[in-house]
Symmetry: C2
Subunit: 199 residues, 2 copies
């Protein structure tokens, strides 16, 4: 991105200011400040810089927010590619590990927000931070259907909704405190085996 490139080419002092601005933006979003409500004033004040320091680097708030959120990109967990169950657990366990951290709070606040005013930002963030995980999970479920581990009539989107939805539900509405360490494993096993009695 041009803005990042410019900053990298700048002096160390410049880089420090940029980092403070990015951190302030992420902190405010994580605290629940909607992207639409977020102001350059609030970011400048939190970062301890002047507004002109921000405008020297970013043309507008949207560009700054997109650059800030881009720093939250995380690599996918390594997948063994053997059992579908194990790969699903690896993918969902990322959600557990991130729960409550600033990244997860930003994801929730940006991706769950219903406001049309920040739609452009949400969509760019979705593509960047969430879509790669969805693609990976869709691929694992599709592999399971193809190799017979999963039912042949599986609705892959529905499988994703059950698995990812359960993790999100626990993160937001489960019992207080840290998520149980074996949560991803239990979610996957309940979803794979189903809730009905087989006795």
């Amino acid at each position: 991105m041009t803005t990042q490139h410019q900053a990298r080419a700048g002096r160390p002092r410049s880089e420090k200011a940029e980092k403070a601005i990015i951190e302030a933006t992420l902190d405010l979003i994580a605290e629940g400040m909607g992207v639409a409500e977020l102001s350059i004033e609030a970011i400048a004040s939190r970062a301890g810089v002047g507004k002109t320091t921000i405008y020297r680097r970013w043309a507008n708030k949207e560009d700054l927010v997109v650059d800030a959120l881009a720093t939250l990109r995380e690599p996918l967990p390594p997948l063994a590619g053997e059992s579908v169950r194990d790969d699903l657990i690896a993918l969902l366990d990322v959600v557990r590990r991130e729960a409550g951290q600033r990244r997860a709070r930003c994801v929730m606040n940006v991706a769950m927000g219903e406001t049309d005013r920040s739609k452009r930002v949400s969509e760019r963030f979705f593509k960047l931070a969430l879509e790669p995980r969805r693609v990976a999970m869709r691929r694992v479920l599709g592999r399971g259907v193809a190799n017979g581990e999963l039912r042949p009539d599986l609705d892959v989107e529905l499988g994703m909704a059950l698995l990812s939805g359960a993790m999100i539900w626990f993160s937001k509405w489960g019992p207080e405190g840290d998520l149980p360490e074996d949560l991803a494993e239990r979610v996957v096993d309940h979803a794979l085996e189903g809730l009905v009695s087989r006795r």
Copy 2:
């Protein structure tokens, strides 16, 4: 609530203003204005009343927001109480029917918001609007375990997470457009039967 009582005792003109204030509050929340960011000024301006008209009825913003959100309370759907599957579908189908409506947007924006600043409001709203549905679903799942329809080792909270989480996931992140009419039924059947192949 005292505030509502006072308003009801007032003149018709007063009731009309109160309705406009409540509607303005809900519209702003549905549009993505965080409870923390919401101001009496913004509500007054949207409702076309003066700030004093609001302060005559509500001591502060939190009380107004709680009263406004309280109007979103919905009765539970009737449950036949025969098959667990049918009762679960009835409970989840409410989520599908409400998706995209103002009530659902308010629920999402209030209940998903991570901000500590509006925690008191979120908690009161959660108790009022969401907890009765969770209690009903927990009871249906518990009945299924007791009567043998569901597996004896079912983790009831986990079952709730899979079922409700899938509906929320589809509402927020599914394909664009209205949710499919049979979504609740398909979610319940996938969750009950499980994703693995039984051939």
